[in-house]
Amino acid sequence: MSEVKLFGAWFSPYVKRVEMALNLKGVEYEYIEEDLKNKSPLFLQYNPITKLVPVLVHNGKPIFESTVILEYIDETWEGPSIFPKDPYDRAMSRFWAKFVEDKCSDPLWKACWAAGEEREKAKKEAEEALKILENEIKGKKFFGGDNIGLVDYVANYIAFWIPLLQDVVGFHILTQDKFPNIWKWCYELCNDSFVKKNLPEKEKVSSGLKRAVETGSLY
């Protein structure tokens, strides 16, 4: 029987993606909550390079970076697929996952934390990217079609964390008015019975974000 460990932090969207993937495949694993202000020697031994969560350890071998881990999970274990089977569809999924991470999530996050000119610049970038994403999700329940796929996993950040952060800082870019298709997808994703079980508590995340805004530190 294989031994699977996951080092994570309860509030991290990157960690939640991996937990969701492991649960999708029905993989039993040991979850280890890591204090990111005071990282354990064991954790640093497994990931001395980036020192970030999530880290998946399978039979003693560490794998880092959430999207790399998702590919590994899909390749290693049987069960429902995260990636499409067809090479062209896989390429499209990888393309959109990269687009979501680099062009949407990043500027949305920056816009919420920044001020002045920097905030306006990030807001403009985020809005341009969201317009493109709005078009991509049009007519679909999920980015993966009828079932969630890679892009839905990677965009979990936008669906759950960003709306909470926007409310905490009082600065809204992603709204139902401006992006009705994305907003609908956010609702579908966060209320999907499987996804729901793999999200942290809203109130706990909101409190954590409020504290981060007040102290200026995320951890």
Binding site: H58, I63, V68, Y72, E75, A91, F95, K98, F99
Partner: protein, 219 residues
């Protein structure tokens, strides 16, 4: 119309990654050179989102983003593996390729093109990132072992283009004194039969960089 087409620019390391990979697989393709200053309708049609090259067209389907294209090429065509077969080794390859593209390349770019405090900070980051890479490639001919693989192809940016920029800018980030294994790897890679024929002419490229740097800090 050719079954496989690559839309590219002669100086682009991202385009060369794709050409190296197609060469490895023995795939015949039509190469279409485009002017990126006056982008033709072909680029805007196939890549309306980013309007960049490389663009791979296979049987009428468009695939974008060099790292995504490399995975596609590996999945579709027989021949030498670009990514290892073993899932754990694949995960390691994907991680290191991401590390090169997300840490080494941006840091070295900033180190070469910024000035003042920003440059000093970037130089420090670049040195740290390259030292980590130095440890990973140590004692190996290539990141892929005896044959080039995904990490080497992605890393060709550093081995050829970044070393040229470093030479032009006189920063000496890539020296045998500081990075003996990485420099040795770079020399081996640039001499590799699949890579060598796709590297742009050094003088022509340096002229372009020198001309470009007078008008813009962007590469």
């Amino acid at each position: 119309m050719a079954k496989v087409q690559v839309i590219g620019a002669w100086f682009s390391p991202f385009v060369k990654r794709v050409e190296i990979s197609l060469k490895m697989k023995g795939v015949e393709y039509e190469y279409i050179e485009v002017d990126l200053i006056n982008k033709p309708p072909l680029v805007l049609h196939h890549n309306p989102i980013h309007q960049k090259v490389p663009i791979l067209i296979h049987d009428g389907k468009t695939i974008l983003e060099s790292a995504v294209i490399l995975e596609y090429i590996d999945e579709v065509w027989e021949g030498p593996n670009i990514l290892p077969k073993d899932p754990y080794q694949r995960a390691r390859s994907r991680f290191w390729a991401n590390f090169i593209d997300q840490k080494c390349v941006p840091a070295t770019r900033k180190a070469l093109w910024c000035r003042g405090e920003e440059q000093e900070k970037a130089i420090k980051e670049a040195r740290e990132a390259l030292k980590i890479l130095e440890c990973e490639v140590k004692d190996k001919k290539y990141f892929g072992g005896d044959q080039i693989d995904y990490v080497d192809i992605i890393g060709s940016f550093l081995a050829y283009w970044m070393r040229l920029f470093d030479e032009v800018a006189g920063l000496h980030l890539f020296t045998y004194e500081e990075l003996p294994s990485l420099c040795k790897w770079a020399d081996e890679l640039c001499d590799n039969k699949y890579v060598k024929q796709h590297l742009p002419d050094k003088d022509r490229f340096v002229d372009r960089v020198r001309g470009h740097s007078k008008t813009t800090r962007s590469v």
